[in-house]
Symmetry: C2
Subunit: 253 residues, 2 copies
């Protein structure tokens, strides 16, 4: 491809560079391949490092590139469709759900969570930690907040194993008849702990999925799930969503 002249372009330099880089990714690089370092790339395209970084950030947003701790910037595989909303309402932890239980603690939730659960600000609730994997890759990390009033018959959890404690809480929760659930999706940045679990750098863009579980006319559980925005395409509805390549270059006809 050789060096590209970016001087005489009306749109922002990094934007045009992004398009050029994107074409280079298609033609010269394969999935998983590590990109040359920033100095070499900047020289090749005749741009400043800052401009290059902006373009790389764009491509990361679009899921074309992944920045991985200790590895560098690699060409990303196509995003994985991850079913989030389903028509049939199911409790977390019921068969077919591909979340792995990590542990369960009893602690006061963040104030915003307590307000939704209508528990007291300092009232401890069960906090079940789960993670969602595919092909050994972490997709999402979840904190599931369950007020003690939602699992009243839960006998004092004597199970020593964290996973067993978590399972006991979810088993109790399933006794309730799920009346409905609603979800919201928004953009966020990975907290340090989520980033570690998701094998991302702190502050990496993530998709935050909040799910409210309703039974007995009230919110009986609240899930805050952090999905990797680089690898995940969240799908809603039964058919598992649509396979569309969203990269701007290809969206423009």
């Amino acid at each position: 491809m050789g060096t590209t002249q970016l001087e005489s372009v009306p749109e922002p330099k990094y934007w045009h560079l992004k398009t050029v880089l994107s074409e280079a990714l298609d033609s010269e690089f394969s999935v998983g391949e590590i990109l040359p370092n920033e100095r070499d790339l900047a020289a090749r395209f005749g741009v400043a490092r800052a401009t290059l970084r902006q373009a790389l950030e764009q491509l990361e947003l679009e899921g074309r590139l992944q920045r991985r701790r200790g590895v560098g910037t690699t060409v990303a595989p196509p995003r994985v469709g991850v079913a989030v909303g389903t028509e049939q309402h199911v409790w977390p932890g019921t068969p077919g759900d591909d979340w792995q239980l990590a542990d369960c603690t009893l602690a006061a939730p963040p104030a915003a969570v307590a307000d939704v659960l209508e528990t007291g600000r300092d009232e401890p609730v069960h906090i079940v930690r789960r993670s969602r994997m595919t092909h050994g890759q972490p997709l999402a990390a979840e904190l599931l907040y369950i007020p003690r009033s939602s699992v009243p018959d839960l006998s004092a959890i004597d199970a020593p194993a964290p996973v067993a404690r978590a399972r006991a809480v979810l088993r109790e929760l399933e006794r309730l008849e799920l009346e409905g659930q609603d979800r919201s999706v928004e953009l966020g940045s990975a907290r340090a702990d989520d980033a570690k679990e998701l094998d991302r750098l702190p502050g990496a863009p993530v998709l935050l999925v909040t799910t409210r579980f309703v039974a007995e006319g009230r919110t009986v559980a609240l899930s805050l799930a952090t999905y990797r925005a680089d690898t995940c395409r969240l799908t809603f509805g039964d058919s598992g969503g649509v396979e569309i390549d969203h990269t701007p270059e290809r969206r423009a006809s």
Copy 2:
């Protein structure tokens, strides 16, 4: 608050700075207020410009800050919950839908769209452009692709007004019995044209919502909607979703 020492912090500098900045936003700034310029901020917190920029990008991802063309960086209002998925299936353009018709053209769609619609790569389809506003603020820009086979009885559109043309196509589409729809949500960056329409800078993070409309056992329409990620929280389910403050500082109890 004065200058903050960031030297002796294990986590990345920008990450700690982001937390400090976030607290400053809560305590010292009001919604819509313009932040001091980067030089002054960097000096105040005793960090390099690059570190400051990283922290500002984090806060933008989290919806705390907005970068606006010609204005600068301002403190963002809380995100707006925008209903995307509904239990009842409705056609685009039916009463109660808050999209505004822009125009309608007949052109070949991007290849990826043609493949989903199972139209020929060069076969022109109706492309309805719509935008979604709230309180005069643009929330989303949409391209709705409708194969001619989905609106066979559409008489030659002689309506001169672009909006009238768009309405005519949607009216024909509504004749079909909608059997289902599925959606996917993923992170993207705003194309130059979307960015302009959404009053964002090119490449700003956006939420890309793809909706496939199914009737007569096939895909009869495909919507590619670009939502502002800074102002929108997409909600699914009837209750309009959950009000949760997701900013990491507040999620950590």
